[in-house]
């Protein structure tokens, strides 16, 4: 039953933990030693990685430090300080933080309710399966779905207007910071559920029973045992969700066009038509995105490695 759902969990979430998987040495390798043929088997993979992952990214990083004539300069990075670019970074970071925090909290609560809430059999696997689908349901179609729901003619908007509550008159706008955050939660919450589920499974029943035997209330259990154990996982997942939202563009583009100037949309416009009138500045913008996304991921990997201890 639940094993099927867990397959989806593993397929989707597992890459995120790839970096901390223990390296298992095969005995044959030690016996036979390495031959040229072995490297030949790995070569296509490494060549691909160099040509289509590492060099293109490095090229942009170098480009960020190059003036138009190719000489070294820091001017591109200094030029990032225009109000337009600063505000786009600021709104990107705000949307990413808000959707990551909301997604993490809602996802944690949902996962706890489903896994430890003694709900009927089947709900757990249904929720995990659905999370697998919803966490991949991003991009353009997600924007369409939310326009059909909370747009000016959306089902919920129209329904609430019929009972006398106009959300748009009350200040809500789908094409705004909160609209985008609410939309991003549609893939952030399921991702949180998928990532945190194994950690919640790792909270052994015996711990809460032991705590209860010692006279702890459920609140005390969560305060002194549950949350401290989940904490590293929570923080790690938070940075992963942040990176996830920070790099996303298609949903925002289809939802708001260019009315909400998040960094990826600004970069998209720059690649399309050099709107910043400076190729070096485009590369600097990319560098800014790489640095922020990489920082968030490094935080995730470091915390996750430390959190693994509790799941053994």
């Amino acid at each position: 039953m639940s094993s099927d759902a867990d397959t989806v969990v593993k397929t989707i979430v597992a890459p995120a933990s790839a970096g901390v998987a223990p390296a298992s040495g095969s005995p044959l390798a030690r016996l036979a030693g390495l031959r040229w043929g072995d490297y030949l088997g790995v070569a296509p993979f490494l060549v691909f990685a160099v040509l289509f992952l590492i060099v293109p990214t490095a090229w942009l990083v170098i480009g960020a430090f190059q003036a138009r004539d190719g000489s070294f300069t820091l001017q591109n990075l200094i030029d990032l300080g225009t109000p337009q670019i600063i505000s786009s970074f600021w709104i990107s970071i705000r949307v990413s933080v808000a959707s990551a925090v909301m997604g993490a909290i809602a996802g944690l609560i949902l996962a706890l309710a489903v896994i430890r809430g003694r709900l009927p059999e089947g709900i757990r696997s249904a929720v995990l399966t659905f999370s697998g689908v919803a966490s991949q349901f991003a991009g353009i179609p997600l924007a369409f779905a939310f326009i059909a729901t909370l747009g000016r003619l959306g089902l919920v908007t129209v329904g609430l207007r019929l009972v006398g509550f106009d959300i748009y008159r009350a200040g809500f706008n789908l094409l705004s910071f909160w609209g985008l955050t609410l939309t991003y939660c549609y893939f952030q919450i399921p991702l949180m559920v998928l990532i945190i589920a194994p950690a919640i499974d790792g909270l052994k029943r015996e711990w809460s029973e032991a705590a209860a035997t010692l006279g702890a209330t459920p609140i005390q259990f969560w305060r002194y045992v549950g949350l401290p154990v989940l904490w590293p996982n929570l923080l790690g997942t938070l940075s992963l969700l942040f990176a996830n939202a920070f790099g996303a563009i298609a949903t925002a583009y289809a939802l708001t066009g260019s009315s909400l100037n998040i960094v990826p949309i600004l970069l998209y416009a720059q690649i399309r038509g050099d709107v910043l009138n400076n190729p070096g500045l485009g590369a600097a913008l990319a560098l800014g995105m790489i640095v922020i996304a990489a920082l968030a991921n490094i935080v995730y990997l470091v915390i996750r490695t430390r959190a693994e201890r509790w799941l053994k």
Binding site: S26, P44, P56, T57, W59, V133, F137, G282, A293
Partner: protein, 261 residues
């Protein structure tokens, strides 16, 4: 009913409302193209439009090509890392994490700068070159999932014994890979393939910036110009994603496992 159980139900129902609400609304919206009553006109408009058929076929082909290329580079690498070169594992796993760290828009920006018409490898010069570049971009996007799926598949079979047995029977390494290892991990490879398809079929950013007439670009166009058809497209996309995920679950039941004695 205990209090904890009551709150679990409340949370579950709130979650269901948030997640099923937009789906219901989208279905309802996609059926409301006529002023009175429901109709499937939005779907027929979309499905019969030549642009839909062309872009969808194109994205499907690119997706299949990306899966094939992905398997060709991932299977040998994962096999050799598992069997003979475990010391390379940290490098390979770091590489498989890169596509999760580098946002797609950065990747395609790098491609455009690196493989433009004045570079050593001017892929963006020709139509075919750009198609190849898009395929390789999708291989990169799917790399973490593909590698993980294949590696999981290899873990469930006894790679070492199978290889030794084939060696004794005189098989060469390519023969071992194609006729012994691959058939044994085909189920795992297929789940990686379906996930790849789910990721790339509606991909917008890379296809759009490489000027390819892909399904994601078509959807964005429809979204900018039509009212009800986008909802129909969203429903179709959701069904495709769901089918891909369902296929992965179904496949998991047929995974072969060799018993270790």
């Amino acid at each position: 009913m205990t209090r904890a159980k009551f709150w679990s139900w409340v949370i579950f129902i709130l979650g269901a409302l948030y997640f099923l609400g937009p789906l219901l609304a989208t279905v309802q919206f996609s059926l409301s193209i006529r002023r009175t009553g429901y109709s499937l006109d939005a779907y027929t408009n979309v499905l019969q439009s030549p642009a839909f058929q062309q872009t969808f076929t194109y994205s499907l082909l690119v997706g299949v090509a990306a899966i094939i290329v992905g398997l060709l580079i991932v299977v040998p690498a994962a096999y050799f890392v598992r069997l003979r070169a475990p010391q390379l594992r940290p490098i390979i796993e770091f590489v498989t994490l890169l596509p999760l760290i580098i946002p797609p828009i950065i990747l395609v920006f790098g491609y455009i700068r690196l493989y433009n018409s004045s570079s050593i490898l001017p892929l963006t010069n020709s139509d075919w070159g750009t198609n190849i570049l898009l395929t390789l971009a999708y291989v990169a996007l799917a790399l973490p999932y593909m590698y993980r799926a294949v590696d999981t598949g290899l873990r469930t079979i006894d790679v070492q014994t199978l290889t030794e047995a084939a060696n004794i029977l005189g098989a060469s390494t390519p023969t071992i890979l194609i006729r012994v290892i691959f058939p044994n991990i085909i189920v795992a490879a297929l789940s990686g393939a379906f996930l790849t398809l789910a990721i790339v079929i509606g991909e917008f950013t890379i296809a759009s910036l490489l000027n390819r007439q892909a399904f994601g670009v078509y959807m964005q166009n429809v979204g900018a110009n039509r009212a009800f058809e986008p909802a129909a497209l969203a429903v179709i996309s959701f069904v495709i994603t769901w089918a891909a995920m369902g296929a992965i679950q179904l496949l998991a039941r047929f995974a072969p496992k060799t018993q270790r004695i």
